[in-house]
Symmetry: D2
Subunit: 336 residues, 4 copies
């Protein structure tokens, strides 16, 4: 850790700061430049209260030089992790997965029909929301336990492992037969929930928060891993910016950055990020070319309502086209 | 609700969309312009799936015209709400409160000493973190239950009501004697926690999330209020932007905007927002002049460590100065 | 244009607003809902002062329903535009271009050497900065006129058309033999410069500003096109967000969005956006798969300094690999 | 300057980097920690190509420790600067100014009337736009030279010095009798314009760009000051964030931060920042309490149009109230 001292700091203040570090069992290397003094702090700096330090009048800037994430860090785990998702499906380490399904589970018929169709079109996991985080308490909050039952029926019929979101650790008993548990963007820093998931052995699909940095996403994975569960799949689903044409701004650099820093797989969700069906295909192809380990695509099927044709959800037919084009991109990359 | 239709949409598609609205019990006013067709949807539009609608190929844009928040809405509750915080202390409706104390509770001696000093300097509530949300699982997570015990001791000694953060609804029994429960920025959209707090009768200090809009903050209050607990105090504590000199960007427009839209009180936390002790005083004065109902100020006392002088936390002496200057501003405003 | 009126507005105020619109030669359709009144304004709404309107106490919200950009608009020009860049090189309408070269022109030898190498590796245009916009007045500002001379020498030797940035309309005479004139991100809304470029017949590579929306980028193109010059190439080079690991956040949705809204070609600059050599290749492939019409890649050659190996600039060897992989992606897409 | 080297970097690479610094006449202090090596670079580091350096594979991070701004820096100029604005009006160093007037100059009658009224209400400078930067080329661009003539008439009648925006250095001859020249947010990094203004001796009101950091604003002032003109007044007018209720997010921390870093005065423009008349008063008071040296307020007068009552522009009557309340706040602060 580096601490840059402001010019004009009194010798006595500086010494009291150095003593404070030493009292915490740390070594301090003092480097006095012509213009500035810099302290290099060596040892277990994880316990140092950075906020306190940065707030000191004499301190210009504080910088950690070693990464605060350990178990998720590629430095200590150079090979890619491959996460087993049930039913023989893997994500990461060369295995690519298409996760498809509707935003919300609506009925047994709906979810089973979509499951069959996306399976045929090339999906390897089924997604569907049973617990729905909604901005308004007056909006539909999902079918909850009943929705999970319906997903399990669709799983039994098609053999597709299922991914669905958890919002409360108390609901964990309902997720016993769920294959992959999703943590939504709004809960990325619900540390109490992360800790509980660290005590399970389920693969966790961890979505990046709307205003979280990639380092914070890594630290949230670390919360789960610190508890013993190392089966994490990252998911980028768009961040908040001033742009208003798309619902969020899909940050595809997340793919190579997370892969540089971590051994864990990265999945992209272009449906939520863009909020527009017409943008899902190009962003899905882009994500694939950027090196993503999988895609999460909203697919909806409701032949009774012509309405849904063209929604943010693709129809199964459009999803099938997407799956084919994604394959072409993957072949081209393997070939290179 | 207004739905703007894209030019070139086929009559048949438009009719199927109109039918879809009508099937949900809504009235549709069609207004065909030279360039564009606009549907005005009237009725209980709260249940309409906006995401689905916006994703339709034929839809250019969807806009709610009435506010989705009801209980927090000033339209239906024109007078300011005044929240009773225990010990006769009130926030809102003309009552202004200084909430002061350390970031974390460290020991019984520390918290009692700070409590005494901030009380003398003019604070009306004591704050202190017992459960600490930390980005890293390896960082200190607070004294937890023990920390709350220490806060209660400080309350007993000084009579100051206490404010402290909750991170998990399961911890509610520990908060029985806590006066005001804080929901941190990272949990602003932890809807499960909000619902549980809606079942209590404790005042809730609800902090704005790092990338949340003011309308979303209002909706999160609505989650708590929908459960029956209408004692909400908003707290603005800085949002994320590209600026790096301050820790976050304090959005003081939040004060007049929230007061325009809602009857609930608004408190400002300049300590967390700026992350620098030297900026706390000017931003506290600015918040007061903008019309805030209270301030939340980090105050730390550790005479043994000269170090802390100048940290993001003010010393009790600097806090006393701040309290005096805030009073002057409030007098000037009352006078105007 | 739609104007949503606040509930509680007096009839007289509403009528004075309607009269105000009519006085400007516009038709007004009034639609009174149960909760809200909405005015649909039809006619040439381009001259209406939106800022004034939005600021009115009685107005809840104003929304244009038709696009304010005309010449750049795909609605009025459905086929893709293909921009001739000199030397038979085209961008758009199926033609894909690799633009490569160093950030700054440093010497005749350097630029000629890089030109030769990138040409061999597959580049179709040469880039190089002669006028450099720098945050600090004390930083190197480029070789200016001399730099352009050097670029022209490199062009003569290799036949590659050249792209270089203009910062001041007074410098236009120096750009007479430049093939494509670049407008940098910081000048995207330098409307005086845009107007001057509208009077030339040079292709303009228009970079998106760091905090500009895609609609604003379209309007800046419109400034140039309104003057008569319709040869615009858009360039996305990253926007500012709270993420700090990458220099900026590359918004690849810009590709399909701009292509949906406009007929003009879109080029991506992954070098500036990410600021890290290791991220250039994956983001270049992603941009290609998203449907970009070209890439702008920083390539530097300095065999004397082993230093430069690994900089944000690729070496010619790494650029050659990139060019090959980009071709594979393009073939895979053509095939689909 | 500090350069943090990645672990695993080969000795030979490190030496070539050290040599590269030394070849530029710089001293290098090497500090090898257990985990990381850090280079402290001493000397005139202003010419080092930071972008190149940061892009190197071996480099983890680069950090300047001394400020890149000199003439604007409070370190080298501890007392506040006071800027003479003509007519005996001063801004900074304890002098506070109210700058008021309409967004655009519309006619001689309008501007003279507003000038008279704002003067009476307490304004010390008159603002009004003659050259208007507009997102769309089809929108009204201002009365240009004619508008400046009208402003000068209003100045002659009232004695108020005038502030108006420049968009093109070629227009400078028209600004000969203008007292303060404004650089708009979109031109904050139009370095060619800044350089030209550095050759004049007019006070420059420099507005912060929509996505620019405060350090960048300081560097833009430095561009003007490096040319010899040290009469700079900063103006914060809101930055872009994800919040949509206000037009921009007014960053009032800019006041104490700029004053900490620089000796130059800071003015706040709450009208443009918020875009809503109802928010102008509270944000004006907040700015004053934060320590601003002046306010820039849109005031419009059109008794014929009841319409304008309530626009983002205040009426002269509401401006007068604002002026009085601002005075009260200033007295309260002087008193403290």
């Amino acid at each position: 850790m580096i601490t840059v001292i402001k010019p004009g700091t009194k010798e006595q203040q500086l010494e009291s700061l150095i003593k404070w570090f030493k009292d915490q069992g740390l070594d301090v290397h003092v480097s006095k430049g012509h213009y500035q003094t810099v302290l290099g702090i060596v040892g277990d700096t994880g316990r140092v209260d950075i906020d306190l330090l940065e707030g000191l009048d004499m301190v210009e800037r504080v910088q950690r030089v070693s990464d605060p994430f350990k178990k998720a860090n590629r430095k200590f785990h150079p090979e890619d992790s491959e996460i087993e998702c049930g039913g023989g499906v893997k994500i990461g380490g060369g295995s690519f997965a298409l996760i498809a399904g509707p935003c919300s589970v609506e009925s047994k018929e709906q979810i089973t029909l979509v499951a069959r169709e996306v399976k045929e079109a090339g999906a390897s996991l089924l997604r569907g929301g049973a617990f729905k985080p909604r901005t308004s308490p007056y909006d539909f909050q999902g079918l909850k336990a009943e929705g999970i039952e319906m997903l399990l029926e669709a799983k039994k019929e098609t053999g597709l492992p299922i991914v669905t979101e958890i919002m409360n650790a108390e609901h964990l008993p309902l997720f016993e037969e769920v294959d992959v548990i999703q943590v939504g963007a709004r809960n990325m820093q619900n540390f109490e929930l992360l800790k509980e998931l660290g005590r399970t052995d389920k693969p966790i699909l961890l979505k990046r928060g709307l205003a979280n940095t990639l380092k914070e996403l890594l630290m949230s994975a670390e919360y789960i891993m610190a508890g013993g569960n190392e089966k994490i799949i990252f998911c980028e689903r768009g961040i908040r910016t001033f742009e208003t044409y798309t619902r969020n701004t899909l940050d595809l650099s997340a793919v190579p950055v997370l892969k540089e820093l971590s051994h864990l797989p990265v999945v992209i969700d272009p449906s939520h990020a863009t909020g527009k069906a017409s943008l899902v295909l190009p962003m899905a192809l882009a994500a694939t070319a950027a090196g993503a380990d999988g895609l999460m695509i909203e697919v909806h099927n409701d032949p009774a309502k012509a309405l849904c044709d063209g929604a943010q959800s693709l129809t199964p037919a459009r999803f099938e086209q997407l799956a084919k084009q994604v394959s072409k991109i993957r072949e081209a990359m393997a070939d290179a």
